[in-house]
Symmetry: D2
Subunit: 189 residues, 4 copies
């Protein structure tokens, strides 16, 4: 954990696509954090192989143990992800399936915030409640509000720079991070 | 599609583990089918890489197109899967994420039956409703009843032969397949 | 059931409020139906008392048996409802709880379409998947697509006449009813 | 709130039936609480009328304001409920729909524990995740573990006295209450 004064949050990104809108959201977060909050990106979930208990029996992949270590050391996790087929991407779920087998289980009692972005108007809402169900089992402490569902995201990211430029969205994200910091601080006490 | 007289169902397995209990369930199904119903295993989802839209842009992996073709040609799909973290395995969701991008989308209007098995008493129930939500988007026709949730499966599979030996479970599975055949025939008319 | 040529759908409304936006949607439906489809309103769920098995033991309320009879006789049910607290209204669920105890159970094998409207941008989406889960148990045949989630409904209903005036929404509803008629006809064959 | 030393939890019961198994569970709780924890029953949800915004506009029913006041004053709420149609009873949801309109909204930041009991093996599991979704909107702090799903409850309650007699179940409930007390104390700090 960080010092009493500073919080460190890590971002877990659900998309592999280079020009991913959700990656644009995740990249915007460090500058949107309030004073005393640092936000760092976890490694890509692309590096985590398909979960297979037979593979696990021979040892955890280093990408998994490294990610588990960083989550364990952080004061909170911000999951930023697209919605695929009304749920989270399989690749993200696969990372969670591996992480859930680590000991200590890194999500246990860990503050978690969720952000989804999509091209449609619903902004990935359907994926959020599916993800929350998994996080019950993992005993995470998931922030309730504000919920971040960024609809019609294509119009909010600059097509050239892939920067999240929509100011209302940036402000809303900053608000969630501030609430998340309060939430994480309360749970640390 | 098969002839008017015979139905072909394919099984989609959610586990990679060699000694998987769900694999034992899936292997039992061909002999539990009624006359006029053939059940064949699809290839392993292990062969399907992480979904990445950038990879898709360079072409679909052959394991995906082959699986999509077989599902498209079948009269129904039986999804047999463990529950991981109160949802379906990420590796299974990843296969669905790829398949959902194929054209024609192979689950569209396709009859689907769900079977889950777990060590606990709930038998994977929580994963089933998450999977059903994805199948709404895919416009599949999912059998409602009977729901197959095999709890405490370790006691129902022979530890040596890995055969599903519990007769009550075998009978229950046979009953679902018969109902699924009726369901698929109604939708074919 | 109706004759082979005509379908009768009944609407089940989830709101009690006189000026309900969802009521406005439901009232618009009869005129949006294609030729050969008649849409009639069921009685108000306000008339159905709190479900209590002790009350049931003394006999079903007439409002319940009447509604069950009408659903049983219809070719399909269109559920039109607001979202309360990320699910369907308790009063609507209560009606379903009573109806589910009737014999014959009126939703069994019955085509069902869902429409939700809300003031927010999500249009009641979260309630739809909760309702679908109940309808699995009831063995209903729920239309997958198109899904009708009418967001920001206040701007789509005339404040004086309480008529659904937004043409794009009316067209979208007409499209769902046409798809629902095809779906119901396929299941009747 | 209670003094720093004592916690008061209130039980919200989802069933109206006199011989309800869930009522038997709720009645058992006060004696299963650890030292320093008092558990009291809220009034019956039977007294709360159908939610109707037009009724609300004329004033909240006293049964609602009284229940909201008691929840607001408590250190936590234990919801004990059957599962109807794979969700919570409509009557319980209706009570929540009313309570959610009160100001202050009584579930905001309130610790909540969930207990379900059913005749089947799943013990009401399906209802729990639906209820949790509503509690996200209400910004409640819902205990993750242990989850209490009491299956085959008919064999665990004495048919004559309607007392929850199964010792393993009583011990499990006592364990959840102890965990819930820790959870509530952490959030009070």
């Amino acid at each position: 954990m960080s010092s009493a004064d500073t919080l460190t949050f890590v971002t877990l990104l659900g998309s592999l696509r280079k020009a991913s809108y959700n990656a644009a959201v995740a990249r915007a977060l460090p500058k949107l954090a309030p004073a005393g909050v640092r936000i760092e990106a976890l490694g890509s979930i692309a590096a985590i192989p398909h979960y297979d208990a037979d593979v696990q029996a021979t040892g955890f992949p280093e990408a998994v143990t490294e990610m588990a270590r960083k989550i364990g050391a952080a004061d909170g996790v911000i999951i930023v992800t697209p919605e695929y087929n009304y749920s989270i991407p399989g690749v993200l779920k696969n990372a969670i399936d591996w992480l859930s087998r680590c000991s200590p289980q890194p999500f246990a009692a860990k503050p978690v915030a969720i952000q989804t972005a999509s091209m449609g108007v619903l902004g990935g809402a359907r994926a959020q409640y599916q993800l929350r169900q998994s996080l019950v089992f993992l005993d995470a402490r998931v922030l309730n509000k504000p919920e971040v569902m960024i609809g019609q995201v294509a119009g909010k990211v600059d097509a050239q720079s892939l920067e999240l430029t929509d100011q209302a969205t940036r402000d809303f994200l900053a608000g969630q991070i501030a609430s998340f910091a309060d939430f994480a601080r309360q749970l640390k006490r």
